[in-house]
Amino acid sequence: MVFSSLLFIFQFLPIALILYYTAPKKAKNFVLFLVSLVFYSWGEVRYFPIMLATILVNYFCAIGIENAALKGRPARTRKILLIIALVISFGFLFVFKYADFFITNINALTGAGLPLLKLTLPLGISFYTFQTLSYTIDVYRGKVQAERSFINAAAFVVLFPQLIAGPIVRYSDIQRELRNRTITPGMLEQGMEEFVIGLAKKVLIANNVGALWTEIETLGFSSVSTPLAWLGALAFTLQIYFDFSGYSQMAIGLGRMMGFNFPQNFDNPYSSKSITEFWRRWHMTLSSWFREYVYIPLGGNRKGYKRQLFNMFVVWACTGFWHGASWNFVLWGLYYFVLLAIEKAGYLNFLQKHRAFAHVYTLFAVVIGWVLFAITDFAGLGVYFSRLFVPSSLAVAGKTVSVVYYLRNYAVSLAVGCFFSTDTASYLYGIVREKRAIKILLMLLLFLVSVAYLVDSTYNPFLYFRF
C-alpha cells in the first residue's frame, strides 16, 4: 500500500489510528505491529514470510549477541551471530533485487543461458533491510541494548510509516520512543501538517511534472528536440525530489501523529552550492547509513588519502547500486564519486568563493546525474545525451518534437516546482505558518486539492519499486 492513495488515506489510516489511539498504552506497539503487517502485506501477501523471517532472525541474533557479550563468551560467537543476521537479511535483498542482474551479466559474459528468476521486489526491501541491520550491527557494537520484547523489535522493523520509502530510521533514533512515548496535541497538529505537505508535494507537484518525463519516454528519445530534452531532464529532476521528499515527509508526519520523531531526510538539496553539500541535504538518512556502516568501518579518512579515495569509491558504488540493480545506477553513483573527489581535491575552496557559479554548477551536475539515473539502458542514455548536447541539426529538426507545446502545458507546474525547492520558499513558509489560521486554511486547501487529484488520477506512479 502506498500513502498517496485513497485506500490509505480514507480506509487504512482512520482504522489504524483509531485502533492505535484507543489501545491501552501497553498494547500500542502490538497494534502498531499488526496494522503495519496489514499495510505491508496488502497486495503482496506472498512476501509476508520474508518479513517474518527478517524480524525473527534479527531479533534472535541481537539477543544472542548481547547474551554472548554478557556471559563473556568468545568474540567469535558474537561475530558468527552477526554474520548470520547479515547473510540472511542481505541474502533476501540479493535474491529478490540483484539475482537477475547478476544472472543477466553472467549470461552476457559466458553465454551460459541461465534462466532468470523474474521475482517482483518485495515492497521497501532495500529500506527495511538497512533499517533492521542498523539495529543488529549497533547491538554488536554495544551501542544499543538488544530489544528483549519481541513486539517492540517487530514493531520497529515493520513500522508502517517508514517501511517502504524511508527515511531510513535507525533503531538508535527511536529506541526510547519505542518503549515509552507520549503524544501531545501539538504533535498531532504538526504531524498532520507534515503529512499534508508531503502529500501535496507528491500528488500536486511530483505527479504533475513527472507526467512530462513519462511523455518523453513515450515519444521515444530519438524524436525529442534539444530544448525538449532539457525540459524533460528538469521535469525528472523535480519529480524525483518532490516524490521522494514528499514521501519522506508523509512518513515523518505519520510518525509524529503516533508519537515518533523520525530524522529529517531532505533539506532543500537543490539549494546546495556544491555536490558535497548536496549529499548532505539529499536522502540524508541513506548517506549517514553508508557513512556509519561502510565508510567509517573501512577507515574513513583516517588511513591516508589514497585509502580515503578507495573508501569513497566503495561507498558511492554501493550507493548507486542500492538505487537499483542496473549498471546505470552504478554509473550514477561513480559519477558522484568523481565529482566529490574533485571537490575534495580543492575545487570546493574555489566554489566557496564563487557562490553564484557554485549554485549553477551544482544544479547542472545534479540534473545530468538524474539523466544517468532515469534511463536504465545505455543505448537510450547515449541517444538522450546526444539530444542534450548536440543541438538538433537542420536535418533532424523537422522530425523532432518541439518544446513549444510542453513548455506551454507545464510551465506553471515547473515554475511552482522550482520555487518550492528553494531555501527562500521554506523561509517564506516559516513566516506564513506563524499565522495559525492561515496555516490551517492552507493545509485544508492542499488536502482537498490533493484528494481531488487522487480521485481523478491516471498518473500516480510509485517510483521506488526498484529500490
Partner: protein
C-alpha cells in the same frame, strides 16, 4: 480538554473530514454506471485465494474505492479547475484547443503493428471477388490545424496515410480523405468533445467515396436534419473539463432502412432515439458499434446489391447515406468479430470497404484477423 482540542485543531479538522468521507462512502449504495464519465464503475470484488495471493484483489479493491468515492464527480471537477488554474492545456491525455475543441493525443505509432495490419488487408483483398476500397479517417488533430493548441505533438498522419496508400497499391483503392476534410476545416466536421466526425464530416467522406466508385452522392442541403443538443463525448469523458462546450448531433430521419439487425437484435430504424436521451448519444446511430450489423434498405433495382464494410465506430454516422445506394449493407467490426474472414469472400458482395479511424488501423490487433 478544550485547550487540547485547540492545539490540535488542524488534526481534528482533517481527521473529521477523512472520517466523514470514509463513512459516507461506505454507507451510500454503490453505483454501477457513471453518466459523467460514461463508464461502468468498479464493484466490490470478492476475494479468492488466488486473487488475494497474486495481488489482483488488492488492485481491484483500490479501483473500487476510487470509483465509489463519495461525490466523485465533484472531486473530478475540482481537479479540472485546479488544472485550469495551473494553465494546463490538457488533462488525462486530452489537449484543449481553440473554440472548445478537444484533441486526444496520439504521439507514438507501432510501425510493426501497422505493417502487419496492412499485410492482413492485402490477404483479405486477394480473396475478395469484388474491389476493396479504403476510407481511413484521420484523427481530428491532423485535420483541424487551425484549432490546435500551439505545437501539439502528434503522429504525422499525412505521412503515414501516404505510406498506407502506397503499401496497398494494387490491392485496394485508397480514397484520400485528409485533403477533403482539411478544406472544410472551418465547418463543423468533428465534434468538439468527441473523437468522431460529425454527421457533416461523415457526409464529406461519403461523397468522396461515392464519386470514387461512380455513384452520385445525395445532396446534403436537400436533406432535412434533426438536431440533438447537449452531447458530451469520449474526449470529455477522459478530461472531464468543467468548462466543456457540449456538441450538437444532427441526424436525418428520412434516411431509413427496412430492417437493422445489430448483434441479433432486430430494429426497423437506423436510429436508437432513446439513446439520444442518454449520455453516449453517438451510440444512437445504428444502435451502437458491435461485431455484426446487417441492414436491409427499401429494395430498388436502381441500387447496387450489397456492400461489406469492415469498420469501427466512424462508420455509424456515415452508413445512413449509403442506404440510398445499396439494398444490403453488412458491417463487421474486426475487433469483436471472430469468424474467419476468408468465408466472407464467398458471399458475393458488390462492393467492399474498409472504413475506420487511422488510429485503429495502425494500432488494433484485431485487424490482423482479416488475414485469417
Amino acid at each position: 480538554m478544550l485547550k487540547k482540542a485547540k492545539d490540535s485543531l488542524l488534526f481534528i479538522l482533517i481527521a473529521a473530514m477523512i472520517l466523514t468521507i470514509s463513512v459516507v462512502s461506505l454507507i451510500l449504495p454503490d453505483k454501477t454506471f457513471s453518466e459523467n464519465e460514461n463508464k461502468m464503475l468498479a464493484q466490490l470484488p470478492s476475494p479468492s485465494f488466488k486473487t488475494l495471493l497474486n495481488g489482483d484483489f488488492a488492485s481491484d479493491y483500490e479501483e473500487y474505492v476510487a470509483d465509489q468515492f463519495w461525490m466523485r464527480d465533484e472531486w473530478i471537477a475540482a481537479k479540472s479547475i485546479a488544472e485550469y488554474a495551473l494553465l494546463k492545456t490538457e488533462n488525462n491525455g486530452v489537449a484543449y484547443g481553440k473554440d472548445g475543441y478537444m484533441f486526444q493525443k496520439y504521439t507514438s505509432l507501432n510501425e510493426t503493428r501497422l505493417r502487419a495490419n496492412l499485410e492482413a488487408i492485402r490477404l483479405f483483398s486477394d480473396r475478395l471477388d469484388c474491389d476493396l476500397n479504403m476510407l481511413i479517417v484521420p484523427s481530428s488533430y491532423s485535420v483541424l490545424t487551425n484549432k490546435l493548441p500551439a505545437g501539439l505533438p502528434g503522429v504525422d498522419q499525412a505521412y503515414w496515410l501516404e505510406q498506407v496508400s502506397q503499401n496497398l497499391q494494387g490491392s485496394a483503392g485508397f480514397v484520400e480523405l485528409l485533403p477533403v476534410l482539411q478544406t472544410h476545416q472551418d465547418s463543423y466536421i468533428y465534434y468538439r468533445t468527441d473523437h468522431h466526425w460529425t454527421t457533416y464530416g461523415a457526409y464529406l467522406a461519403y461523397a468522396a467515396y461515392a464519386e470514387s466508385v461512380g455513384l452520385t452522392p445525395i445532396d446534403y442541403d436537400a436533406l432535412e436534419g434533426t438536431e440533438v443538443e447537449g452531447f458530451l463525448g469520449t474526449s470529455y469523458s477522459k478530461c472531464k473539463a468543467f468548462n466543456a462546450q457540449p456538441d450538437t448531433i444532427t441526424y436525418f430521419p428520412e434516411l431509413e432502412c427496412v430492417s437493422l439487425v445489430n448483434n441479433g437484435e432486430e430494429h426497423d430504424t437506423l436510429y436508437n432515439l432513446e439513446q439520444f436521451e442518454k449520455r453516449d448519444k453517438y451510440a444512437a446511430f445504428l444502435f451502437g458499434n458491435s461485431s455484426l450489423v446487417e441492414i436491409e434498405t427499401e429494395y430498388s433495382e436502381e441500387k447496387r446489391d450489397s456492400i461489406l464494410i469492415i469498420r469501427d465506430s466512424y462508420a455509424d454516422s456515415l452508413v445512413p447515406y449509403l442506404t440510398a445506394h445499396y439494398n444490403k449493407i453488412v458491417l463487421l467490426d474486426p475487433r469483436y468479430y471472430n469468424l474467419p474472414f476468408s468465408e466472407l469472400a464467398d458471399d458475393g458482395y458488390t462492393d467492399a470497404l474498409i472504413l475506420m479511424g487511422f488510429e485503429n488501423l495502425a494500432g488494433e490487433q484485431g485487424i490482423a484477423k482479416l488475414g485469417l
